[in-house]
Amino acid sequence: MIRVDERLLESLAKDKDFNAQACFNCGTCSALCPMGLGLLPRELFRYVLLGARDRLRELSDVIFSCLLCRLCEANCPRGVRITHNIRTLRSYLVKDEYRIL
């Protein structure tokens, strides 16, 4: 079960450019991803939106495998800033979860 983590939601809300909520699950990004990542952007964003903190930790490999090529972003019909969002997630994982910085 996914437990919605309010702290994660609050942390992401601080980033005004993070706009995963605009996603309406069409799957264009998934079809275009050259990495064929095990987890697709829309699924990842869904977890992020829900504040599924445990999932995010489990999925850190995927989050760091993204090429940031922006093929998905250029074609997103809802204007989701996918690569920016991925960077925000990386920064969240590094700062808030692994406390490396």
């Binding site: 079960m1 996914i2 309010e6 706009n19 909520q21 605009a22 699924e43 829900l50």
Partner: protein, 569 residues
């Protein structure tokens, strides 16, 4: 008077003549008693054919005509008008349907189709022979209207009717006008408080001398019929009677009230949509607080009391947009408050789609459920945990913490038994009042002069209620601004010398058009022709054959049967 009948048979450009030998039909019926002229035409409905028939009526002095063509649904009025132009009473015209009921039905058997057509036309001739000229029933109209319910639909209807110059009596059960709209904090799409909207309308009431508003008043009795109703109103102090030509019912809806425990309802912090409006209306200053606790997360659960399996199967239409719109307002006032919307299908139709997108962009989170996996609300002290299988996350179970749960409750029809009984309102399966035709006659009822408007006819938002109120006003105006109504004369009539006053017909009539009255010392059935629809429930129950429908008299029907069964062809 000797019958002089003209019979005109239509080829319908092959639709009939490909299967029915029209010339053979003409020959067979031309010798029928009373037939003066029998002709065939390629299209009887064409101008040329109509002119020729008119010439025949005039030159040969016809007093009845039979046209064997299509369904009277299509051309009854066409040919009645033609008869009128020829100076013939339109009710001495008989239409025989040899297309839908003969040629099209028997394309596989032409010879039998022709035989059937001959019999049908003979029956038509038999009917025409005994036809009597009829005049429309004339009813003087009272230039006044009763509007039941002073919600947004009723108020708009009243204003429109007043501007047509009619006297308008508006009856409201509650202590104040304005209905539910008055209770709403902010309404889409303008964002204005509902009360403001109502005050504008109330100002319009004050400015017009011909609107009379009766508060805390109910309708207790109705007599009369279209054009001339007498209605008794019971107010807080006294009863009074008003004379009106038509009635507009705009009694609105009752919001669905969840059962105790349904989605946690009953616990402090679980509100219906109406209660949430009341909370917003009281005004929240500074922090978002309910019952002394600060609200950080709000959960909206949609489709509560709508789209259910057995009862309440309808969609309440307005609630998706209302909830999304309130969510949007909430996000603007309290951007830090997180919102979770548990919905089944997002029905922010038409122009309201923008609110859904804006609400998404404001960061509200939408989770989609599908019955039977509906959200489960767990009450944990002052907080709630809502669990749902979220379809947008591939059906994974998600648990959401919330401080306030808003149940997005739908519409239903309120307790209106008295009104339904007094006005004989037609009630549908869902409990809403029934229109005659959902697309083409949306504000009329089966009772002439009785109109329905707004959410009492089915769930509607404010804009739709107003549209429907104005539509009802237009239909009412079109009726009453004619100083005199002309009604179809094909109604029942009582043969007084035969009637024994047994009352069987009175009980059989679904329109209450018949009653027993004393006449020359005996009780006999008496008809209000303005209420009669001529549907004939009274005719077969009469043991004395003392009641019949004009145009369908006993003798006429018997001679039609003779015509149908006549053996030589």
């Amino acid at each position: 008077m000797e019958a002089k009948i003209g019979v005109f048979i239509c080829y319908c450009g092959g639709n009939i003549s490909d299967y029915v030998d029209c010339e053979k039909v003409r020959e067979a019926v031309s010798k029928e008693p009373g037939v003066v002229v029998a002709k065939t035409f390629m299209f009887t409905c064409s101008d040329a054919a109509q002119e020729e028939m008119i010439a025949d009526i005039r030159q040969k002095g016809l007093n009845a005509i039979v046209i064997a063509s299509c369904s009277p649904k299509l051309h009854l009025e066409t040919f009645r008008n033609m008869a009128r132009r020829a100076g013939l009473n339109p009710y001495t015209y008989v239409q025989v349907n040899i297309r839908e009921q003969c040629s099209w039905a028997h394309t596989h058997h032409k010879e039998a189709a022709t035989r059937k057509a001959i019999r049908l036309v003979r029956a038509g001739i038999a009917k025409a022979r005994l036809s009597v000229p009829l005049e429309p029933i004339k009813v003087k109209t009272t230039p006044a209207v009763l509007v039941v319910g002073a919600g947004v639909a009723g108020m708009k209807a009243a204003l429109a009717l007043a501007d047509m110059g009619l006297e308008v009596h508006v009856v409201e059960r509650e202590k104040a006008a304005g209905g539910w709209v008055k209770e709403w904090a902010r309404v889409f799409p303008s964002g204005r408080p509902g009360e403001e909207l109502i005050n504008t309308l109330l100002k319009g009431f004050e400015e017009r001398k011909n609107i009379h508003l009766y508060l805390e008043t109910e309708v207790v009795e109705k007599r009369g019929s279209v054009g001339q109703f007498q209605v008794r109103l019971k107010g807080p102090q006294r009863e009074q009677e008003v004379e009106v030509g038509a009635i507009v019912v705009a009694t609105g809806f009752s919001p669905y009230v969840p059962k105790e425990g349904e989605f946690g309802y009953g616990a402090s912090g679980v509100l219906t949509l109406q209660e949430f409006h009341a909370l917003l209306k009281r005004g929240i200053e500074g922090r978002f607080v309910y019952a002394g606790r600060e609200i950080k997360n709000v959960a909206f659960i949609y489709c509560v009391g709508s789209r259910e399996k057995e009862e309440r199967t309808f969609c309440s239409r307005y609630c998706c947009t209302a909830a999304v719109y309130l969510g949007l307002l909430l996000a603007e006032t309290y951007p830090e408050v997180k919102q979770f919307h548990f919905y089944r299908d997002m029905r922010t139709y038409g122009k309201y789609e923008i609110f859904y997108h804006n609400c998404l962009e404001k960061g509200a989170i939408f989770l989609r459920f599908e019955p039977p996996d509906v959200p489960k609300v767990e009450v944990a002290g002052e907080r709630f945990f809502i669990r749902v299988k979220d379809r947008l996350t591939g059906g994974e179970e998600v648990e959401v913490p919330a401080d306030l749960v808003v149940l997005v409750t739908g519409m239903g029809l309120g307790p209106n038994e008295n009104l339904v009984n007094v006005l004989k309102l037609p009630v549908g399966k869902d409990g809403f009042f029934n229109e005659v035709h959902p697309k083409l006659r949306p504000v009329e009822t089966v009772i002439d002069g009785l109109f329905i408007a707004g959410a009492c006819q089915g769930p509607k938002n404010i804009a739709e209620s107003v549209t429907s109120g104005l539509a009802a006003a237009a239909k009412t105006g079109a009726l009453l601004l004619q100083k005199e109504l002309r009604l179809e004369p094909l109604v029942a009539h009582v043969l007084k010398e035969r009637c024994t006053g047994c009352g069987e017909c009175v009980a059989a009539c679904p329109y209450e058009a018949l009653s027993l009255k004393e006449e020359d010392g005996k009780h006999i059935a008496s008809l209000n022709p303005a209420l009669c629809k001529g549907e004939g429930a009274c005719v077969p129950v009469c043991p004395e054959e003392a009641i019949e429908i004009w145009g369908y008299g006993h003798e006429q029907i018997r001679s039609m049967i003779q015509g149908l069964c006549k053996e030589e062809l």
